[in-house]
């Protein structure tokens, strides 16, 4: 009833190929984005700092990995390593050139991560599937070892950690101890919204289609004229770019300071979980998956308080783990293709509602 496309005629190719061809979708997306920017007006610092900022940062990393794994079909467990490249590059650039706008620094560090990603993407031309995971794990472990070992990356800090220095955009502090959670949230949101839009466009372009062709049957793709070298490396490059930006944000907007352990292999796994749970090959899925992995544990931690139950923290954490594992299984069994697919099905139903047949 409220969601239907009857009466919406498409008279040009452009309108037929729009990202959101249905008016209700456009309205809804515009409303969600607007609401997201309005969130700092109402949300507490806890919500912004502990929930929403990590959600946005992880969503960006998941988006990056989803392009590589979901669209181009190349399994990667090097996300943490590529994020670390972004973070350490951003730190080096901004400490060496404090006058450069921090947003430009993010982009530059993304480009450096992309270059590193290209190098570690080369084995993908020969190695496939789970075997490829090892190539990317080599990147993960080697990069972290390098950042840990070479003191130059931390500017020879005695603490061995990198810290986000105070930087501002348009006169507003966005990183460092003086930046408010609101400012950091808005930057993270703007960045992820921009890149989500770019990604959405990218995946329906020639590049995106070549990725999907490679993913679905690489030999066939090669025969119809997709160049695997170019397509795969491009996927590694763009994916690492997004992961790199996410890594820079991870330190500059979320954690504030970090050691290499903040990017260990668990981060790589976590981002992979996000895209599988959210939906491989779906931009929306990256967000839903990040939401699931970031929000559900926090919700489970807080749930007993809400109902006035006071459990010992250890028992609570153990139950939380069990429920979280159970939920993953539950959602996979309900819809193996992820939350994005679940949403799509809901939408199909909604189109016909309230008169399904």
């Amino acid at each position: 009833m409220i969601y239907r496309e009857a009466g919406q005629f498409k008279t040009t190719y452009a309108s037929d190929q729009a990202i959101f061809p249905i008016r209700e979708d456009r309205v809804a997306v515009a409303a969600i984005v607007a609401a997201a920017f309005a969130v700092p007006l109402v949300a507490s610092e806890y919500w912004l700092q502990a929930v929403l900022i990590p959600f946005l940062v992880y969503a960006l990393a998941a988006l990056g990995l989803n392009l590589l794994t979901g669209y181009a079909g190349q399994l990667s467990l090097g996300t943490g390593g590529f994020m670390a490249v972004g973070a350490y590059s951003a730190f080096k650039i901004t400490t060496a050139f404090p006058q450069v706008n921090i947003l430009a620094v993010f982009v530059l560090s993304g480009l450096i991560a992309a270059a590193v990603g290209l190098v570690f993407g080369v084995p993908s031309l020969r190695i496939k599937g789970f075997y490829l995971a090892v190539a990317t794990l080599a990147a993960q472990f080697f990069l972290l070892w390098l950042f840990n070992k070479v003191a130059w990356f931390t500017n020879y800090a005695s603490s061995g950690t990198i810290t986000a220095p105070p930087r501002s955009v348009l006169g507003v502090m966005v990183t460092g101890p003086g930046a408010t959670a609101e400012a950091r949230y808005v930057v993270a949101l703007a960045v992820v919204a921009l890149f989500a839009l770019l990604a959405k466009n990218l995946v329906r372009s020639r590049v995106g289609r070549s990725w999907m062709a490679i993913r679905d049957r690489d030999i066939a793709a090669e025969i119809i004229g997709v160049r695997p070298l170019r397509a795969k490396l491009l996927a590694f490059g763009i994916s690492s770019f997004l992961c790199g930006v996410a890594g820079a944000e991870y330190v500059f907007l979320y954690l504030g300071s970090a050691e290499t352990l903040a990017f260990d292999v668990n981060v790589s796994f976590l981002v992979l979980f996000m895209i599988i749970i959210g939906g491989l090959g779906s931009v929306l899925g990256s967000f839903l998956g990040a939401g699931f992995i970031v929000l559900v544990p926090i919700f489970l931690t807080n749930a007993p308080h809400l109902v006035g139950l006071s459990l010992p923290v250890a028992l609570q954490k153990q139950i939380e783990l069990m429920v979280f594992g159970g939920l993953i299984l539950f959602f996979l069994i309900v819809e193996p293709h992820g939350l994005a697919r679940l949403w799509q099905i809901t939408k199909e139903k909604l189109r016909l509602w309230p008169f399904p047949y």
Binding site: S44, E45, Y46, W47, Q49, A50, V51, P54, W145, N148, N155, A157, S158, S159, G160, T161, T163, P165, P166, G176, P177, G178, L255, G256, S257, A258, E259, T260, L261, A262, D264, L295, V296, I298, F299, T301, N302, A303, H305, L306, P312, V313, A314, Q316, K317, Q318, L321, V334, L342, I345, T346, K349
Partner: protein
């Protein structure tokens, strides 16, 4: 399918309503949050520490009715030693006006250092965290007394010198440092290198990658090198494996010294008898002989309010938790002496920390004579430059075997001040003039 959609919907709604529901607390209570890690890979260390901290606070509530009549509201938050979860905990607990925070993890400490000044909540990272924060002129909100990794490393060298018969005997001796390959593990390296230059001993640094379940190659190198002494800065499973591997290559256990996070009951249990003779540093006694521990048994455990297993009271890390809680509550007491017997603000507790003077007499009143060393914290010195003890595992328990060993301050302090300047500037801080402080 309907049901599914509904379920998802319900979940979404509940999620939306889940912000940290604050439990209202009386104005007469002071809120003391505990970031603990009772689960996960580091839980063997986390559990006794958390129990000790909590039990001492409960003791004050049960025996004295709180601190100067102000009851302590305790709330634990589980971090699993994970930085992200620690941040979540901190942000959730922050809304309840905590008087101070003990992060209980190096990663979380680094996270909270920039926040402490903004949120006006003092940070006490007792014997961990950022060593440079010991210079209070740069880091007014961060405290790491009674002593730091750098002081500890220098004290270990002094101890070795004592055993060898003087600093001049160190010349030509071989000392190895086996460390967790992380900023934490590397803390001692610059100090050790400096001392090696001064005293002419041969220092070998051997890194063990996280998590450290496999250390064969490290200990093979030790075996070949055959150092006179080996110092271990380990963490988690690395500790147990290191002790075991050292035993397996027949390294002399009484020449193997762990740092204070590498010397608890959990670290020697898997090695069993082979660990006998193993030494580690500490800054307090283990065991249950002291009055304060007896009081905990009497007022807390006999009333069924204990946080953990009665039989594990007196373990090294348990007692460390007790010491930590004592330092913090004494700082709060110091603050109350100036600002009145009501729940203090974070700012007032910070003042209390900077004017904390724990004398032997006060320790005796607290039932802790000989339990730990007197401490004096000042505006400049947030470390207290405390001495350390050497304890030894006799197969059943940890026993203190040395006197208090002073750190080599003339080596440590200048390095520390230089580091503080570097770290402070990174955060955009300016140096305080301590003579202008109250």
């Amino acid at each position: 399918m309907k049901l599914r959609t509904t379920l998802v919907g319900v979940l979404a709604v509940v999620l939306a309503l889940a912000p940290g529901a604050a439990i209202a607390q009386g104005a007469k209570e002071l809120f003391f949050p505990l970031l603990v890690y009772r689960t996960g890979p580091y839980a063997p260390s986390g559990i006794p520490s958390a129990n000790g901290l909590r039990d001492y606070l409960t003791l004050l509530n049960e025996r004295d009715g709180g601190i100067n009549g102000v009851r302590i509201a305790i709330e634990e938050c589980e971090t699993q030693y994970d930085t992200k979860q620690g941040v979540e905990c901190y942000e959730r607990l922050k809304s309840k006006n905590p008087v101070l925070v003990n992060p209980y993890s190096t990663g979380i400490t680094y996270q909270l250092i920039p926040k402490a000044a903004v949120d006006k909540i003092p940070l006490h990272s007792m014997g961990y965290g950022m060593t440079a924060a010991a210079d209070g002129r740069w880091f007014p909100w961060v405290f790491n007394f009674p002593t730091t990794y750098w002081s500890q490393a220098s004290a270990v060298i002094r101890y070795i010198a004592q055993q060898e018969g003087g600093f001049e005997k160190l010349k030509g001796k071989k000392i190895a440092h086996v460390y967790h390959n992380s900023p934490y593990g590397k803390e001692a390296n610059p100090t050790l290198e400096e001392l090696a230059r001064r005293h002419g001993f041969e220092l070998t640094l051997l890194a063990v990658d996280h998590p450290g379940q496999e250390q064969k190659s490290t200990w093979l190198q030790i075996r070949r090198l055959n150092p006179d002494w080996t110092y271990v800065s380990g963490w988690g499973v690395m500790n147990q494996v290191a002790v075991k591997e050292a035993a397996a290559i027949n390294f002399r256990m009484d020449r193997l010294i762990g740092n204070w996070w590498t010397g608890s009951e959990a670290d020697v249990v898997p090695a069993g008898d082979a660990a006998k003779g193993y030494k580690s540093t500490t800054f307090h006694a283990a065991g249950t002989n002291h009055k304060v521990i007896q009081d905990i048994l009497k007022y807390v455990y006999d009333r069924g309010k204990g946080a953990g297993d009665r039989n594990r009271i007196g373990e090294v890390l348990y007692n460390r938790g007790v010491v930590n809680a004592m330092f913090d509550t004494e700082a709060i007491r110091t603050a109350m002496a100036k600002f009145g017997n009501k729940p203090p603000t974070g700012e007032q507790v910070r003042w209390g920390f900077e004017h904390l003077t724990l004398t032997d007499k006060r320790l005796e009143e607290l039932g802790m004579k000989g339990f730990t060393h007197p401490v004096k914290v000042t505006c400049e010195d947030h470390e207290g430059n405390g001495p350390v003890l050497i304890q030894q595992w006799d197969g059943k328990q940890w026993k203190v075997i040395s006197d208090w060993i002073q750190p080599i301050r003339e080596v440590v302090r200048p390095k520390l001040e230089a580091a503080a300047e570097q770290e402070g500037k990174k955060l955009g801080y300016a140096k305080r003039d301590c003579s202008k402080e109250m």
